[in-house]
């Protein structure tokens, strides 16, 4: 069992009604996802990403080849009890409310009522839907449905998380939160297989990626290896005098190298989150807590030292270094922040026996450690409107803005 997910010459051909072979959705695919890594399946629309995931989960049967998920068949209850799956869209029972939805899935896993209840509350809190937990999910916006979908995938505390385009339909803040959550879960030893065509998302979180086209792997490897320009070097400093710049330029010229000097740009994502946070601070108290609801708050404030150490020792894969700006902004505070309540909270998620009381404390604490929003903690009772506000923002337009901007930056 070297790999969490492995496929052997996996082929899926879609035939028409007469049995004539029409489309090679997946073509002789050999995929290997190691334990405890974040693996990204990339590709344009129709490149076979979703089909591959469906084959892994037994929703489709391979035409040729076979798959091994956690060392077995993905449709076997023993194996699927250890998998969390978020489909490309959150397909939910519209007539159930958020709490009932999670309860239903919890019961499918045969979780005892106590554990179920505790996990549901923890997850609702984590995805920020506690205030609307009694509303039918049919009335949810796309972003909220996505959050419930994610909570549903986590209810069994899975070892392997299969996420099909996890960030579609989410606003930049939601996207950021999901990405932080993925990183956080990876720190906790989960294996995550995600598919996406949003390159920025993948770049930020994945250890390794495969780029699919026409059902075949076109490129595969560590994100860092694939993207690193080893013949170039970037030096970032605080603002220094022109004189100093000239001297450095001279130094570089002596090395017979070219150099360019410019002020680094913030990522639009960072800017956006900052702006929204500022706006929230100035707005009336009912809307002041929006960004604090987030997954990132909840998970990222956890004292991750031990985990990171464990990870460095055990995992062969280095944590990817996504965009520089983000890492400094987000990860640094994580490591300095020491808030026990969060740690316990997370343990509670995976170990059902602990009491569920700790959450509100954790929430307040986290707030202080979050560098992006340095404003005072919000009132608990304002959450509902916050959420409405949050979800109102999850329009695709925002998403697109972010996307295009990022891809431009990549160039």
């Amino acid at each position: 069992m070297e790999y969490a997910v492995e496929t052997f010459s996996l082929t899926k051909i879609f035939s028409d009604w007469w049995g004539r072979e029409k489309v090679y959705a997946v073509d002789d695919l050999n995929l290997q996802v190691r334990y405890n890594e974040v693996f990204g399946l990339l590709g344009p629309n129709g490149s076979g990403k979703t089909t591959t995931l469906k084959l892994l989960l037994g929703l489709l049967y391979p035409t040729k080849g076979k798959v091994a998920v956690l060392g077995g068949d993905g449709a076997d209850p023993k194996i699927s009890a250890r998998i969390g799956f978020l489909p490309e869209e959150s397909y939910l029972y519209r007539y159930l409310n958020a709490r009932e939805t999670l309860d239903f899935y919890g019961r499918l896993f045969g979780l005892p009522p106590k554990v179920r209840k505790m996990r549901i509350e923890a997850l609702l809190d984590m995805v920020g839907l506690k205030a609307v937990a009694n509303r039918p999910v049919g009335t949810f916006s796309k972003g909220m449905a996505r959050r419930i979908g994610l909570a549903q995938a986590l209810i069994n505390d899975p070892e392997l998380l299969i996420l099909d385009e996890p960030t579609t339909g989410l606003d930049p803040i939601g996207t950021r939160q999901i990405k932080d959550l993925i990183l956080e879960l990876a720190k906790r030893g989960k294996t995550i297989l995600l598919s996406s065509h949003l390159l920025a998302d993948v770049e930020d979180v994945c250890d390794r990626i495969s780029i699919l086209y026409g059902g075949k792997i076109q490129a595969e490897g560590r994100v860092r290896d694939l993207l690193l320009q080893s013949n170039k070097l970037q030096i970032t400093t605080d603002a220094i005098s022109d004189n100093a710049v000239e001297r450095i330029k001279q130094l570089i010229k002596d090395e017979h190298a070219d150099c360019q000097v410019f002020c680094p740009m913030d990522k639009l994502e960072t800017f956006f989150i900052k702006t929204v946070a500022d706006a929230q601070q100035q707005a009336q108290p009912t809307s002041g807590a929006v960004s604090r609801m987030g997954i990132s708050d909840f998970l990222a404030a956890e004292p991750a030292k031990a985990n990171i150490l464990d990870k460095l020792v055990s995992a062969p894969v280095s944590r990817p270094t996504p965009s520089q700006a983000l890492t400094t902004e987000k990860v640094l505070p994580i490591e300095t922040a020491e808030s026990e309540p969060d740690d316990e909270l997370l343990r509670k998620l995976s170990k059902p026996d602990k009491p569920a009381r700790l959450k509100p404390v954790a929430r307040d604490r986290k707030v202080k450690t979050q560098p992006v929003e340095t404003k005072p903690k919000p009132e608990q009772q304002v959450r509902k409107s916050i959420l409405d506000q949050l979800t109102d923002r999850s329009t695709p337009q925002n998403d697109d803005d972010e996307q295009t901007d990022k891809s431009q930056k990549q160039k």
């Binding site: 879609f14 035939s15 028409d16 009604w17 029409k22 489309v23 469906k54 989960l57 037994g58 929703l59 489709l60 049967y61 993905g74 449709a75 209850p77 023993k78 699927s80 009890a81 998998i83 799956f85 489909p87 869209e89 397909y91 939910l92 029972y93 007539y95 159930l96 009932e100 239903f104 899935y105 019961r107 499918l108 896993f109 045969g110 039918p136 979908g149 549903q152 069994n156």
Partner: protein
């Protein structure tokens, strides 16, 4: 098991919250009391009760059958079409568990509704005499002829084989056989004619039926002779005069009772007879005399005479009749899940409805083949007929068929219905449904 239960409760929530069940519930809640008031039947209390029970149960039965078909198909096809099944089937749930959960949910929902509406019908039926302040005679009549469960003595078909053979050979000898007609058809025709003769009484002639081993629970109670007249010529007032003698004809006239009556033709009538007329050894004779007041031959149709006696209570009979409906619903739920396991919603509904309707009229369908020409009937008897025989016979096990004439629906008949409809046919359908569902690709995309 826990996941089956989770799916079942979710299915019930779906049916209730998506308001599929609500339509049927509201319809029945409104219609049943209205029917209780508006159904008058032939104007008598008994007629009122009979029409109400008949229409009330039939309507409940029809609507619940439709509900069962629609909910079972909707719950599965909707999950597949809306893809909620992606998140369910990837949990530790075997596919058979999902299907059984759906079945359990649908059956539980139907059962709950069936119980609700049966109780409503039952209560209305029981309280109708009080509401209408019926007079004493009416109450006694309905007590004897409606609020009861009676077993029936049916006279055996008279054996006419020998007479038919004689008549045939006579025709043959005299050369009167019609040419180009098969022997079997002539025999069948002669048999029909002879049997009709046995059930017909010309003016002034008697007809006698004899029963042996008649055992009545309460020898001091009553029995009922239930009969229907056909006539060769319609009497002017559509009534037939008659003289009936009932008792032990071996001790005539000591143990005999005589009844003079005038009854309308072509409807079932009942004649109350004391049960102590049965001889100690269980012998009972019934003699009908076509009195000269009539001007027509009186013919009893094949099911035209029975002797009914009390063998159970109305309540238990009603419960058993409701169980018959339940068996149907279980069968239909299995059938619908089978259809939904490989068909889309509209097609599956159509398919199930076709089978439901065919099963409802299976007796009629089967009989109608007997009237086909020989070539066609050969074709049908090897193709359509076996298929119809495979279907359950809803009309054979119709609850109103027992409740309206207050006929005992015996446990053995109930067991037969349960065995055929549920244990054999429904299980078979479910087995195929599981098989198909087990091997189909849930996320199949047809290009």
């Amino acid at each position: 098991m826990r996941s089956i239960w989770a799916v079942a409760t979710n299915t019930i929530k779906q049916a209730v919250r998506m308001k599929i069940a609500a339509v049927f519930i509201v319809l029945l809640l409104v219609l049943l009391p209205v029917m209780g008031v508006s159904m008058t039947g032939d104007g008598t209390l008994k007629g009122r009760l009979q029409t109400f029970v008949s229409y009330g149960l039939s309507l409940t039965n029809l609507l619940l059958c439709l509900l069962t078909i629609i909910v079972s198909i909707y719950t599965l096809t909707n999950d597949i079409q809306q893809r909620q099944i992606y998140t369910v089937i990837t949990k530790p749930v075997r596919r058979y568990q999902l299907l059984l959960g759906k079945l359990l949910g649908v059956v539980l929902l139907s059962t709950a509704l069936l119980v609700l509406f049966s109780v409503i019908i039952y209560v209305i039926t029981i309280y109708t005499p009080k509401i209408y302040d019926a007079d004493e005679a009416d109450i006694i009549q309905v007590k004897n002829e409606f609020y009861t469960a009676r077993a029936a003595l049916v006279p055996p078909e008279v054996d006419v084989t020998k007479e038919v053979e004689d008549a045939y050979s006579k025709l043959q000898q005299s050369g009167q056989l019609p040419p180009n007609v098969q022997r079997s058809r002539i025999i069948a025709e002669l048999t029909k004619r002879k049997q009709l003769e046995k059930r017909a009484a010309v003016v002034g002639q008697p007809l006698v039926w004899e029963f042996n081993n008649v055992r009545v629970l309460d020898p001091n109670g009553s029995m009922f002779v239930r009969f229907k007249y056909d006539v060769s010529v319609n009497p002017p007032d559509l009534q037939v005069y008659s003289r009936w003698d009932v008792g032990d004809s071996r001790q005539y006239p000591a143990a005999f009772a005589t009844f003079l009556r005038k009854d309308p033709i072509r409807t079932f009538r009942e004649m109350e007879v004391p049960a102590n007329l049965i001889a100690d050894d269980g012998y009972l004779a019934i003699r009908f005399l076509n009195v000269p007041l009539n001007d027509t031959t009186v013919i009893f149709p094949p099911d035209g005479l029975e002797v009914l006696y009390k063998a159970g209570t109305f309540t238990t009979n009603f419960i058993r009749a409701v169980l018959l409906i339940l068996f149907r619903l279980i069968f239909l739920a299995s059938l619908s899940l089978l259809a939904a396991s490989f068909l889309s919603f509209p097609v599956a509904v159509l398919f199930s409805l076709c089978i439901f309707i065919t099963a409802t009229f299976s007796g009629f369908c089967l009989e109608s083949f007997d009237f086909l020409g020989s070539n066609l009937s050969w074709f049908y008897s090897y193709t359509v007929r076996p298929i119809i025989l495979l279907l359950p016979q809803f009309d054979k096990f119709s609850p109103t068929k027992f409740l309206v004439p207050a006929r005992l629906l015996s446990w053995s008949l109930l067991a037969e219905a349960a065995g055929l409809m549920v244990c054999v046919k429904a299980l078979l359908l479910l087995f195929f449904a599981l098989l198909i569902f087990r091997y189909r690709e849930i996320a199949k995309i047809i290009i």
